[in-house]
């Protein structure tokens, strides 16, 4: 028993050596054949790594901005189209709510002296926003409740705006014009340091003004979306119910005037979508693997036909069918594995590059590598099986007749 296991082992080692010789002997053909597997594995690895990188970064940016928050979107009714500052104050006064940040944005033309910038993103914020982000202001002061109540024409500028309009000059105390209206610069803030995906989601305002002022520029008194920050330890579902009840009253129990969404549910939806997308893409990528497998099968069948004489000879020299079969199986396995390993290398390089471009963190995904290697091993064995069996069943007399 021990002896036969040992001789099988010796035999398999010998087959590996011979397979390398055969693969080397047909360099171009072998390379073209394993290209299919390589592309398939590259695609699978790249997709999995990129999607997991993206979803990781989405999760982290959601947790940055979304712990204990609810987003309220208001569509309003015919009678009442949005939430005015008094309504907002009612929401903010709820016991479960710590504060709210209304979101009002406009695009404006900003000028100072001869410098003009068009299409500048202007964002209306309230004092609470600056309380939450108390390290945002680098120079000067933040916007406060008095500014909100008085609809003051004051603003804080991003560093980028300061460099544009006041390069080398202290901007605080200067006046610049937003959509033709004079605004007193009271402070400067550091741009959102989140970068990457987070910046895409949260936007990057260039100028912040009191939201009440922004509303009056828009000739409106109503806000259509705002973020609710919950009090410590409050369950977001309970708070959601509180807010919905209150807003039902505000909108006279009209249907479909608003939606309250928790960040957790947005994140969940996002992750579900990403998961579906990655499954779909992985499915498409695995088609490439199947096509690659067919390529291997095709090459192995050709090889078997080409090497009929060799097979006949080996049988005449005493090779039993099993020994012939294992040789061809090992050959297709090695070919496929070789393609798979190249695919893993290329896939990792590509996903590293993509993560760099997308600004997400590259995570070495062990599961993806295992999947790629496992897939190519399976493809090699499954698609090598039939040709190897064909070889092992060749009648040695027919095989030798071609001598």
């Amino acid at each position: 028993m021990f002896k036969s296991i040992r001789s099988a082992f010796v035999m398999i080692l010998e087959c590996i050596v011979m397979s390398f010789d055969n693969i080397r002997g047909n360099k171009v053909r072998s390379f073209l054949t394993l290209l299919g597997i390589m592309i398939g594995v590259t695609a699978v690895i790249t997709l999995i790594s990129t999607v997991s990188g993206v979803s990781g970064s989405i999760a982290s940016s959601f947790s940055d901005m979304g712990v204990g928050t609810l987003t309220v979107t208001v569509t309003g009714s015919d009678l009442k189209t949005g939430m005015n500052p008094d309504d907002l104050a009612k929401v903010a006064a709820l016991e479960s709510v710590d504060g709210i940040v209304p979101s009002v944005s406009l695009n404006g033309r900003v000028s100072y002296g001869k410098t003009v910038e068009t299409n500048v993103s202007v964002s209306g914020k309230n004092a609470y926003y600056f309380q939450l982000n108390d390290e945002l202001i680098e120079h000067g002061r933040a916007l406060n409740f008095i500014d909100d109540d008085n609809r003051s024409y004051v603003c804080v500028l991003s560093k980028e705006m300061v460099d544009t309009f006041f390069f080398g000059v202290n901007p605080v105390g200067e006046t610049l014009y937003v959509s033709g209206l004079p605004f007193l610069v009271v402070g400067r803030y550091e741009e959102d340091s989140g970068g990457g995906i987070a910046a895409i989601f949260s936007g990057k305002p260039n100028i912040m003004i009191p939201y009440t002022t922004a509303l009056s520029i828009n000739n409106s008194n109503e806000v259509n979306s705002f973020t609710v920050y919950l009090a410590d330890g409050v369950d977001s579902e309970a708070a959601k119910t509180d807010i919905e009840n209150l807003m039902d009253q505000i909108f006279d129990f009209e249907d479909d005037c608003f939606t309250v969404t928790s960040m957790a549910s947005i994140e969940e939806t996002m992750n579900t979508m990403l998961g579906m997308m990655s499954t779909l893409l992985a499915g498409i990528a695995s088609i490439a693997l199947v096509v690659g497998g067919i390529g291997i099968m095709n090459m192995m069948l050709t090889t078997v036909t080409e090497r009929t004489t060799e097979i006949g000879l080996k049988k005449a020299l005493g090779a039993i069918p099993w020994q012939i079969q294992i040789q061809f199986l090992i050959e297709s396995f090695l070919l496929s594995m070789f393609g798979g390993l190249l695919g893993v290398v290329f896939g990792l390089i590509l996903s590293y590059a993509l993560c760099h471009v997308l600004g997400t963190t590259f995570v070495l995904n062990g599961g993806a590598i295992a999947l790629g290697v496992g897939f190519s091993a399976a493809v090699g064995i499954i698609f090598g099986w039939a040709p190897a069996r064909k070889a092992s069943r060749l009648n040695p007399i027919d095989a030798l007749r071609s001598i």
Binding site: D21, N22, A316, G318, P321, Q323, L400
Partner: protein, 232 residues
Amino acid sequence: MANDVFFDMRGIDKDYIMGGEPVHVLKKINLSIDEGEYLSVLGPSGSGKSTLMNIIGCLDTPTAGEYTLRGREVEELDERELAQLRSREIGFIFQNSQLLPRLNALKNVELPLIYAGIPPRERRRRAEAMLERVGLSDRMDHLPTQLSGGQQQRVAIARALVGNPSILLADEPTGALDQKTGAQIMALFQELNDEHRTIIMITHDMNIAKHARRVVNIIDGEISEGRRDADV
């Protein structure tokens, strides 16, 4: 039948179906060989000599009749057992030497031992010894393409001998060689036979066949004992 029978064929028939018609390729062949004999089977092409060689070489089984090799009833064996019997008892030598082009001389000679499950070190030792025996100790790491036709055929002979088979079975061993090289191969066969190795040589060439001590003629699937070399 006694277990010490070396080689005995009794009433061997081989039929093929060709174009729907059965063809009797071999008809009631009786052939008995003793250990250490040097026999040639002489016949023109189409005489059935290749089929006979396949059956002697355990590549094929007869349609009818009994073939005993070293006490084994060959006609009862399955494919796997036939392979094992070939591995132990038969050393094939083909017309075109049939070396694997990507393996060097030594690796080619080792090949039958791989299938017999001999460990690498032992394999190498035996293959080296056999290449030395056929006078190629200085050509072991040459590829077949780097060897002359005669040298290639000697590698093939070493490969046939390395498993220490009961019978060397040669199919037109000089067919692809010039006369001088062919004569050298025949001289090597003679030496091997002098060392008490059993040789069966299949050929259509009377001049080659007469090197053997015993010649049987095969015509239309029937054999007849030819004259001994000594009688010529």
